[in-house]
């Protein structure tokens, strides 16, 4: 044994170089390519109002995607988010019938989201069930309750102030939803990449047993993540309900898979342990730009979905194919 302690450098390569070689850079290049292509293909694309309208295609889904990203990094998943939107929206509609004011409605929406998240969280952490199974169940359950309450009816007549959340503009073409999306992106960035909580999320996703043995309160972190996801579904419910000005039990049908697609496209490992918020933000733009751009070319929606499906598999397959070719 030598007496002079060996010096170990902090980093192997500079953070800038690492960032340059990252998934996010690749995705950003894709996003820029799509943006440029769109501007060439459609004369209507480069128009502030049109671009602003296009952001509505992804802002609400992206809000949920942030929380979902954390959840998936921690090795769990929540397929019930779209159903939570339906239930939260229904709860807001029911509160509306009781003459609850705008802020009351918001509270009801967020509260319902949190409660649903808590239910999922309890089932997963309390009973130790796999989250994919639990949330496939609650996916039917939550929307089912919405159907029981509403049947073939709908709620409408939300107060005009309420419409601000989904239809209001903060400044010129910058909508409230977009501001909220940007704000949440920053918050989630800080939460995941700059706090102890975020570190715990990565540790749990990498090795839950190891995290537990390192003194991390694994069950508590997981539970909070389900709460957060529920809360974000509640936030999305407020925005979407406001944007639609009404509630039906079919609201946000099928969004869960779109949100998961956004998260995976953003470079989050579906098996847990890695991923980043910037990745998800770029993925949200990619999906938004693709659907809007193809929409301008009047490509039917279902054909766009082929594109998204190929993108999802392609971005994951290409690096692997590349690696296979090199070995």
């Amino acid at each position: 044994m030598n007496d002079t302690a060996r010096h170990i450098p902090d980093r192997l390569q500079s953070p800038a170089l690492k960032a340059f070689k990252s998934w996010e850079t690749l995705l950003l290049a894709v996003a820029i390519a799509i943006f440029v292509t769109n501007s060439f293909l459609s004369p209507y694309f480069l128009n502030a109002w049109n671009l602003s309208d296009a952001t509505f295609n992804f802002t609400e889904k992206a809000m949920i995607a942030f929380a979902m990203a954390l959840l998936i990094i921690a090795g769990e998943i929540d397929l019930s988010v779209a159903s939570i939107i339906a239930l939260a929206s229904t709860a807001m509609g029911a509160a509306l019938q009781l003459d609850v004011g705008t802020w009351g409605l918001v509270a009801v929406g967020l509260g319902t989201g949190v409660l649903c998240g808590a239910f999922n969280g309890l089932m997963v952490t309390g009973l130790g069930l796999p989250s994919i199974v639990v949330t496939i169940g609650t996916m039917s359950l939550f929307r089912g309750i919405s159907y029981i309450v509403l049947g073939d009816q709908g709620f409408r007549g939300y107060p005009s102030e309420f419409s601000f959340f989904g239809q209001g503009y903060v400044w010129w073409v910058i909508s409230f939803e977009f501001v909220l999306f940007a704000g949440l992106a920053v918050l989630y960035y800080i939460l995941l990449h700059r706090t102890n909580f975020g570190r715990a999320v990565y540790a749990i996703g990498n090795n839950p047993t190891g995290a537990l043995f390192s003194g991390i309160r694994v069950a508590r972190v997981r539970f909070i993540l389900f709460l957060l996801t529920g809360l974000m579904a509640g936030v999305a419910a407020v925005c979407l309900t406001s944007r639609l000005g009404s509630t039906r039990p079919t609201i946000a049908l099928g969004w869960e898979l779109e949100v998961v697609t956004m998260v995976v496209l953003g470079g989050v490992n579906i098996l847990g342990g890695s991923g980043s918020i910037p990745g998800v933000v770029i993925a949200a733009f990619v999906m938004g730009l693709v659907t809007f751009g193809l929409g301008l070319l009047n490509v039917p929606g279902i054909v766009m979905s082929i594109f998204i499906g190929c993108l999802l598999i392609g971005v994951i397959a290409l690096p692997r194919l590349w690696a296979m070719r090199r070995t």
């Binding site: 009973l127 359950l141 579906i270 979905s305 082929i306 999802l312 692997r320």
Partner: protein
């Protein structure tokens, strides 16, 4: 013997019988043989798909593309029938099986050769397969009157009082009982899902086994595609939309462990029958159809909670005293 009585399958049979008894106590018509045949026939597509999905889940994968595969294969069969009404039904069935297998193999290859997580692969192919239906059909429907009588008649034809559709579900179940119990591949599904690490030591190829699981699941989805389109005499982009989650739910209720390696084909079938009965009984019992979604959701949640309690692994016991007590 006790082992069988205490098994999850026996429990599920009990629950199903209790459910039927409960419905029958208020609506005796429900247990008329003709109605039970109906319920079973109605549930047959779910049973066939659940068998395929069960195999995939056994190998630690999941196939979310089954419903899209079904719809695409169904559309191709319908369009073939419209274009060449004279094609014999066995040929159509062969096309359905083959196309289903190919679609399943695409999933399988991506999982095996590129090691992309199955949930991502099938999420992607789910949207792609649906999109392809739109492209080939141009969004148009194929309606009953365009299909030949033989095409739509096949699943309905009765043999010994049971429609062919129901017989096919039984045949599928029987075939896969044998495949699972008596073929090396069938046992490999359990081994690969139960302990992939050990599977390597046993000389099994994990990825390849998963590939075959996807092929089988795809083949069954293809078969169901033809049956579905023929039975309901219509094919369009959205048929069986969202059905994949119902299929997974049937497996989960039937006790197939989502972590792979544990569960039986019988369980998956019983899970499918359980969902089928609930679905069919609601209108009969007079419960508003709006309750259906919540009830099946609650059933899934309760079933998994229950399975988790029943299946909790018995720990190793070190203390001799405790061991003696446990064995007493």
């Amino acid at each position: 013997m006790i082992r069988y009585l205490k098994s999850r399958e026996a429990l599920l049979v009990g629950v199903i019988l209790a459910l039927i008894a409960l419905i029958a106590s208020r609506f005796p018509a429900f247990i008329l043989p003709s109605n039970l045949v109906n319920v079973f026939t109605d549930t047959s597509p779910l049973i066939i798909l659940a068998v395929g999905q069960a195999i995939v889940i056994l190998t630690r994968c999941i196939d979310l593309s089954v419903a899209a595969n079904l719809a695409l294969t169904g559309m191709v069969c319908a369009m073939l029938n419209v274009a060449y009404p004279g094609l014999p039904i066995p040929f159509i069935i062969a096309v359905a099986l083959m196309l289903g297998a190919v679609l399943g193999a695409i999933n399988g290859i991506l999982v095996w050769k590129l090691t992309i997580p199955p949930i991502v692969v099938t999420l992607g192919t789910l949207t792609i397969y649906r999109g392809i239906i739109f492209v080939i059909s141009d969004g148009a429907w194929v309606n009953a009157h365009e299909m030949s009588a033989a095409f739509t008649g096949f699943p309905r034809a009765e043999i010994l009082g049971l429609p062919v559709l129901a017989w096919l579900a039984i045949l599928t179940a029987a075939t896969f009982f044998v495949v699972i119990a008596r073929t090396p591949l069938g046992r490999a599904f359990y081994a690969v899902g139960g302990n992939p690490h050990a599977a390597v030591y046993a000389g099994l190829n994990v990825g390849k086994t998963q590939f075959w699981a996807f092929v089988l699941s795809g083949t069954l989805a293809g078969l169901t595609g033809y049956l579905w389109v023929a039975r309901y005499s219509v094919a369009y982009v959205d048929i069986a939309k969202g059905f994949e989650l119902e299929v997974v739910a049937a497996c989960v209720i039937g006790g197939i462990a989502i972590a792979g390696g544990a569960g039986t084909i019988m369980g998956a079938i019983l899970g499918a029958i359980f969902l089928g009965i609930i679905k069919n009984a609601l209108p009969v019992v007079g419960i508003s159809p709006f309750w259906q979604l919540a009830i099946s959701g609650a059933a899934i949640v309760i079933a998994v909670a229950f399975n988790a309690r029943a299946g909790r692994a018995k720990g190793r016991i070190i203390l001799k005293r405790a061991e003696a007590e446990a064995q007493a």
